[in-house]
C-alpha cells in the first residue's frame, strides 16, 4: 500500500489540503485524483500513528526490564559478598560491614499485614455499601469520590498527618497499655498504611459486587432471604475471588509504601519485638540510608533490599491480576 503513496504529497501535505478546499471548482478528474491522494495520506498517517503507539508500548516493557536489570546488576556486589545469609541476618551494622535484612523484612511484613487486617473490614464495608446498598445517588457519589481521593493524596501528607495526629494518639494508647510510649513504630505505620490502602480493595470490591447477576440476588430474595442473607450467601461467595484480588492489590501497595512509613516508623535497625516497637521497612531503610551509603557493599546491600521488594510486589500484583482475570472470565 505504501508504494502507492505519492511522496511529493507527503512533502507538502498542507498545500494540497488547502488547495482542495480553496480552489474554485477544478475539473472533476483533478478533484478525484486529489481525493485519492488525500486518502493515501490518511493511510500513511494511520500507519505512522499505529507504529508510534506500538513503540511507546514496547518502551514501557523495556523500561520495567531495565529497572529490574539495574537492580540485579547493582545488587551483585552485595550478593557476592553476603550470599543468601543476607536474607536472614538479624544485624544491620554498616559501620562493621554487617548487613542482615531480616529486621526490615519483618518490618515490612508486620506493617503490611497489620495494615491489611485493619483496612479490610473498612474496604469491604465501603465496597458493600457502594456496590449493593447505594449504587447511585449523591451520597454514594460523595463516598466513592472521597474514597478514591484517599488514593490520590500524596503519601508525604499522610506521613505528616501521622506525625502530627496519630503518633500522639498512639503514644497515649501505649501509655494506657503500659508499653514504652514512643508513639512511633510498627503500629503507627500500620494505621497510616491501613488508611492509604482502603481504596484499592474498596473500589475493586465495589465493581465486583456490582457485577453479581441480578437474577441470583432475586432468586435469594424470592426464597425469603433478607438483605444481609443475600450479601452473605450470594454476593460474598460469588465475589470472593474478586475481593481477595483487591486485598492482594492493597497488600502490594502497603509493601512498597515508603514516605509515610519512613516518617512514623521510628527508623531503628533493630529486630522489631512486637507491634508497638519501632523499626524499619525495606522501603524506609532505602529511603533513609541510600544517600549516606558510601561503601560499595553498603550501597549494594540497599539495592538488594530494593530488588527483594520489587520481586515481592511483582509476584503479589501478578497473582492479584490473575485472580481478577479468572473472576471476570467466569
Amino acid at each position: 500500500m505504501e508504494t502507492l503513496v505519492d511522496n511529493d504529497l507527503i512533502a507538502r501535505p498542507d498545500e494540497s489540503l488547502g488547495r482542495a478546499f480553496s480552489a474554485p471548482k477544478p475539473k472533476d478528474a483533478a478533484k478525484a485524483s486529489k481525493r485519492i491522494k488525500r486518502s493515501h495520506r490518511q493511510i500513511r498517517t494511520e500507519t505512522f500513528f499505529r507504529r508510534s503507539l506500538i513503540i511507546v508500548g514496547l518502551l514501557m516493557v523495556a523500561l520495567v526490564f531495565a529497572i529490574m536489570l539495574t537492580l540485579i546488576v547493582e545488587s551483585i556486589p552485595s550478593i557476592k559478598a553476603l550470599g543468601a545469609g543476607y536474607l536472614w541476618g538479624k544485624t544491620w551494622d554498616p559501620v562493621k560491614d554487617v548487613y542482615g535484612a531480616l529486621p526490615f523484612l519483618m518490618g515490612t511484613l508486620l506493617t503490611s499485614f497489620l495494615a491489611l487486617l485493619i483496612s479490610v473490614p473498612f474496604s469491604f464495608a465501603v465496597a458493600i455499601v457502594l456496590g449493593e446498598y447505594y449504587p447511585q445517588g449523591w451520597l454514594s457519589n460523595l463516598l466513592k469520590n472521597m474514597v478514591e481521593l484517599i488514593a490520590a493524596v500524596p503519601s508525604v501528607i499522610y506521613g505528616f498527618w501521622g506525625l502530627a495526629v496519630l503518633v500522639p494518639i498512639v503514644r497515649t494508647f501505649e501509655t494506657s497499655l503500659g508499653v514504652p510510649p514512643m508513639g512511633y513504630g510498627i503500629f503507627s505505620s500500620s494505621l497510616i498504611l491501613a488508611i492509604m490502602i482502603i481504596p484499592y480493595a474498596a473500589s475493586l470490591g465495589r465493581s465486583m459486587i456490582q457485577m453479581v447477576p441480578a437474577n441470583l440476588k432475586e432468586a435469594a430474595y424470592s426464597l425469603g432471604a433478607t438483605r444481609w442473607e443475600v450479601i452473605r450467601s450470594v454476593i460474598l461467595p460469588y465475589t470472593k475471588s474478586g475481593l481477595f484480588a483487591g486485598v492482594l492489590l492493597s497488600l502490594g501497595r502497603a509493601l512498597g509504601e515508603t514516605m509515610a512509613v519512613t516518617m512514623v516508623i521510628g527508623n531503628t535497625t533493630l529486630m522489631p519485638n512486637g507491634i508497638f516497637s519501632t523499626g524499619n521497612t525495606m522501603a524506609s531503610v532505602i529511603a533513609n540510608e541510600l544517600g549516606e551509603a558510601d561503601k560499595v557493599v553498603y550501597n549494594s546491600a540497599l539495592v538488594e533490599l530494593g530488588l527483594v521488594l520489587f520481586l515481592v510486589t511483582v509476584v503479589i500484583n501478578m497473582i492479584g491480576k490473575k485472580v481478577i482475570g479468572k473472576f471476570t472470565n467466569e
Partner: protein, 252 residues
C-alpha cells in the same frame, strides 16, 4: 365452591412516575393454574412481582392497593414472610452456581438460617425433586453443581427450590421462554401435577401455552386487566374486542 387464595384490590404499581399496573382487581382460586398474558410492557410481570413484593426491590418502584393472601394483606406483612408463602420461578433458570444440586434445593432453608437434621434435609430434597420430576435424573449426582444441568433441568431445579419451602402459591415469570421445546413441554406437564398442591400463577408470552396449561386466563393490556375468565371462554368467546384482537394475532 372454589375458595379464593389470592385477591388483588385496586392494585397499582409504579416505576417512579411511570404507572405500569393500573387498578387491577383479580381473584385467583386455590389449586388453579392462572395464566397472565399480554403484549410486552403491559405490566403483567410487574403485577406478578407485586404479589410477592419483589417489585419494590427495584429502586424507585412503588405500589398502592391491596394484595390479599387468604384474606391477609401482603402489603402489610413483612416481605420475608410473604416470600416464604409465595414462591417464585424466574424467566432464566437461576440456580446458585456455587451450590450443589442438593444445596440448591434446600437453599431457602440455608438462606433463612433454618437448621434441619440430615434426614429431614434428605427427605425435603427427594420430595421436592420428585415433585418436579427431576429426582430420577439427578439422584446420583446430587453433589454436582447446579450449573452442570441442562437449561430445562436447571429450571426444574429452580422450581424444586421454590417447592421445597412449601409455599401456598407459586409465581412463574415466563418460565419457559429460555427453554427449548422439549424442556418446555416437560415443565408444562409439571404444572398439572403441581396444581394439586399449589396455586400457580404463570406469566407467559406464549398464547398456546396459556391455552394448554391454565384453568383461567387474565389478559393485560397497557397496564390494565382487560379480561379475566375461564381459559376456554377466553380463547373461544372473549368478551372484550382487545382480547379478541390479541388472541387472533391482530396485535402483539
Amino acid at each position: 365452591m372454589e375458595s379464593t387464595i389470592v385477591k388483588s384490590v385496586d392494585y397499582n404499581a409504579y416505576f417512579g412516575d411511570n404507572h405500569v399496573v393500573k387498578n387491577v382487581n383479580i381473584e385467583i382460586p386455590k389449586n388453579n393454574v392462572v395464566a397472565v398474558m399480554g403484549p410486552s410492557g403491559c405490566g403483567k410481570t410487574t403485577f406478578l412481582r407485586g404479589i410477592n413484593r419483589m417489585h419494590e426491590l427495584i429502586p424507585g418502584a412503588t405500589a398502592k392497593g391491596k394484595i390479599l393472601l387468604n384474606g391477609e394483606d401482603v402489603m402489610e406483612m413483612h416481605p420475608i414472610f410473604v416470600r416464604l408463602k409465595i414462591g417464585m420461578v424466574f424467566q432464566r433458570p437461576n440456580p446458585f452456581p456455587n451450590l450443589s444440586i442438593y444445596d440448591n434445593v434446600i437453599a431457602g432453608y440455608k438462606l433463612n438460617g433454618i437448621k434441619l437434621p440430615k434426614a429431614e434435609k434428605d427427605r425435603i430434597v427427594e420430595h421436592s425433586l420428585t415433585r418436579v420430576a427431576l429426582w430420577k435424573e439427578v439422584k446420583d449426582s446430587l453433589t454436582k453443581k447446579g450449573s452442570f444441568l441442562s437449561g430445562g433441568q436447571q429450571q426444574r431445579l429452580c422450581i424444586a427450590r421454590a417447592v421445597a419451602m412449601e409455599p401456598e402459591v407459586l409465581l412463574f415469570d415466563e418460565p419457559t421462554s429460555a427453554l427449548d421445546p422439549i424442556s418446555t413441554s416437560t415443565v408444562e406437564e409439571l404444572f398439572h401435577e403441581l396444581k394439586k398442591n399449589y396455586t400457580l400463577i404463570i406469566v407467559t408470552h406464549n398464547m398456546q401455552q396459556a391455552a394448554r396449561v391454565s384453568d383461567k386466563t387474565a389478559f393485560f393490556y397497557m397496564g390494565e386487566l382487560v379480561e379475566y375468565d375461564n381459559t376456554k371462554k377466553m380463547f373461544t368467546n372473549p368478551s372484550d374486542i382487545r382480547t379478541q384482537n390479541y388472541i387472533t394475532g391482530r396485535f402483539s
